[in-house]
Amino acid sequence: MIRFLIRRILWGIVIVWFVATLVFGLFFMAPRDVARLIAGRQASDQTIQLVRQRLGLDRPVPVQYVRFLGRLARGDLGESFLTSESVVSVIRRDFPVTASLAVGAAALWLFIGVGTGVIAATRPRSVFDRALTAASLFFYSMPPFLMGELLLLFLFFRLYMSGYTFFPPGAYVPLTESVAQWARHLVLPWFSIALITAATYSRLTRGAMLDVLGEDYIRTARAKGLSEGRIIFRHALRSSAAPVITQFGIDLGGLLGGAIVTEVVFGLPGLGREAVLAITTQDLPVIIGITILSSALVVTASLIVDACYAVLDPRVTVR
């Protein structure tokens, strides 16, 4: 187990290093002169030279690369070109917003997805099962930004116009300020992610449950008179959890790196929206910082999933 973990952690570091190198490469693929971009259009050549010096862009590329990796190893992601704020503090400020969004949405989609999947598996080919299949395909086909826009239009605006003002149009209220307001402002963004993602979980759970319910030991459990509820929740659900957990790790890891579209639609000041802003202003250190963080989160999540796998399922042998 320890050896397995060490190997996985090392491989994770390799991936993050690879991503860091790739984004660093973007600096030099840029056909634009970054220093000129920051100094502004009217800047004199002298100013541009100064800017170049201050950002260390006048050194040879390999030197810059080594310094970049050195800083990265110390957890220093540099400073924003535009505001001179350190990228680490930008991330620290935005992360709670993204985490609030991701964790709430994840709880919701697990509940909806697994719940409906279990019900469908216990009544295969029923009306509920068929309706759920149709609904899953519908939500699965929905691009997240469209979902957000439709929720805004119908659940915020239409209801607001008819005098029902529960759903706010967006914005973020910190958890520390007011729990109720925090949740109220996040309900629509949560649902806009959760409904789409739950479609996958519903199908996944249904498929895995159906497989397990056909096994001999389920028949044995029935034969010895266990209640249906106990069979489903204690025996079947537990054995069919593996694919759901795998998918969950991938999705949550990806989401924590910034639910870009949802944050943009609902005006939530999280990592994803920050990344889009940085991209439109060519604020490279911020883009690089957020990209590296997101890939680190994806890697960490899949590492945790594999570890959980080994603990949950005794059949998985870890080498």
Binding site: E149, L150, Q247, I260, I287, T291, S295, V298
Partner: protein
């Protein structure tokens, strides 16, 4: 006497299964309809005498500059600049289909070649290619795609290349797994003993046997490529305005959703019905080739995505 018993190949069988599937027929009809809309876009524009980029400041905007709703001149209403939403949706279909088909075609082609090469040569080649696929699958693709586009500048070609780049690895993994077992088949050994070279074995013996998988993946990658393109356009890094795409129309509509529901609902419906039609069709195509399979939606899981 033997006429009643005929051997049916897997392709014929699959085709017959699709033909008997009501949902597949409906979805295929939907896809054909969307293709027609895209092909006939200039004709639709001519019929209502509106070009996709023309701004009708007199008839297309209210005196206070607000888009006008669906009426006899503008069947689907107008957008914030007084342009015809219907005509723009028709032209937007061209972008979506072009990007969807080309990006998924490219992704499937690259994925198949990499998968077959990795499986056939094995050893170091396999290790390197498999690791490469692992890395691509663990990239945070949207952030990455946006950063890439921001640096090289948005265009239709870039969108296609970027989408293909982030999609080929999942195909590569599946094809590699299949090719690994095909490699051990007797007909491959026979071909080798007859003196066939690596190239011949890879593309004449193995490729046709993974073709069904490629078709299933191509059908299922089209809707996700279309959604990917729409998302990039939505974020301002896809198709460059004023060329209409469903994504940039929906981005513009966000400023108007309180006064112009048609500007959100019609492009949204176009996008959603297109991805839905392709997904339903893809679902049936997969079922037809592999009736035991029942989980289209988990495309991403079974190919992993793990580091």
């Amino acid at each position: 006497m033997t006429e009643s018993i005929r051997a049916r190949g897997p392709w014929k069988l699959a085709f017959e299964r699709i033909r008997g599937d009501r949902w597949a027929i409906a979805a295929a009809a939907g896809v054909v309809f969307i293709i027609l809309i895209a092909l006939l876009a200039p004709w639709i524009g001519a019929a209502v005498e509106h070009s996709p980029e023309a701004q009708f400041r007199e008839t297309g905007l209210s005196p206070s500059g607000i888009p006008v709703g669906p009426n006899r001149e503008f069947l689907f209403g107008t957008d914030g600049l007084g342009r015809d939403v219907l005509v723009r949706i028709a032209y937007g279909a061209r972008v979506s289909l072009l990007v969807g088909v080309l990006a998924s075609g490219l992704a499937v082609a690259v994925g198949a070649v990499v998968g077959i090469v990795a499986a056939w040569f094995g050893g170091v080649v396999d290790t390197i290619l498999s690791r490469l696929m692992d890395v691509v699958l663990s990239l945070p693709f949207l952030v990455f795609a946006l950063a890439l586009v921001a640096v090289v500048g948005p265009s239709l070609t870039i969108s296609i290349v970027v989408i293909a780049f982030f999609s080929w690895a999942s195909v590569g993994r599946v094809v590699r797994a299949q090719a690994l077992s095909i490699r051990e088949q007797e007909y491959v050994k026979a071909a080798r003993s007859l003196g066939a070279g690596s190239l011949r074995i890879m593309f004449v013996e193995i490729l046709p046997n993974v073709a069904a998988t490629m078709i299933v993946y191509a059908t299922l990658l089209i809707p996700s490529s279309i959604a990917f393109e729409a998302t990039m356009s939505f974020l301002g890094l896809g198709v460059v305005p004023p060329t209409p795409s469903w994504g940039n129309m929906l981005a513009d509509s966000i400023a108007f959703y309180k006064v112009a529901w048609w500007f959100v609902v019609f492009p949204g419906a176009a996008l959603l019905s297109t991805t839905l039609a392709f997904n339903v069709l893809g679902d049936s195509v997969r079922d037809a080739f592999d009736p035991r399979h029942d989980q289209t939606i988990v495309l991403d899981t079974e190919t992993g995505g793990k580091a």
